[in-house]
Symmetry: C2
């Protein structure tokens, strides 16, 4: 038995790939249009960890995607949590829970999927501007 | 960078462990009570794939957990989709989308998290009672 993916629905595939790939740092593994079902699937995964994927489902017929509390978040370990948060910021993503402790941060996808970043190994020493950055909203 | 887990919130930790471990077949990797935060965390993973986990968060103060359409499902590959569905049934879980094609099935957790099972490798030959079993509800 093996974990394959977590599927999330997205309202704008380009914006979501920009978030998950360019801002978060995942790699696009495959992308597939299914005209018969009127949807497009994109699978992304962390570099060097290609088998644990996130599946983006883009339905061609518009739908509104709200969140629910039964789903919490997706979590990834990163080599440098400050560099990861900086890259997210540089792509216009608000770091809702900044890594004040050098260990943990939260952001949200364009469709409000909560993403947790955890520093691999031990926490980094506190560093500005993160150490004094307040929380924004909820995650 | 590395995928760590998908977190879901659960209203009944014992019922959820019974679902994810006993019925679905994951293994309980760790379970940790955090009295200061009034929550308990349980991490489960597929046997032989311990690093891709599902995190169950049980908040001691009751909350109602509804679902949202932005989250789709968790997906696992299984060695024998018929055996996997039979075990789920034997634990009282309804197979909402039976594996009529020997390839794909869906169930839901006690908190309505959708779980996809996919036959590893090629699809199995169609087999009763699955081949003629209708869908139930949505997933």
């Amino acid at each position: 038995m093996k974990y394959l993916h977590t599927m999330v629905r997205v309202t704008d595939l380009d914006a979501s790939i920009a978030f998950y790939r360019d801002a978060l740092g995942l790699e696009l593994v495959t992308k597939r249009e299914v005209p018969a079902g009127r949807f497009t699937l994109a699978f992304l995964a962390a570099p060097g960890d290609p088998n644990a994927q996130v599946e983006l489902t883009y339905n061609w017929d518009p739908e509104t995607y709200t969140g629910g509390r039964n789903f919490g978040h997706l979590a990834y370990a990163v080599d440098d949590i400050y560099a990861a948060c900086k890259r997210l910021q540089d792509h216009g993503v608000t770091v809702l829970r900044p890594p004040r402790d050098g260990r943990m941060a939260f952001v949200r996808s364009p469709d409000n999927i909560s993403i947790e970043l955890l520093q691999a190994g031990t926490a980094l020493p506190p560093m500005e501007p993160w150490a004094s950055m307040p929380n924004t909203g909820s995650w």
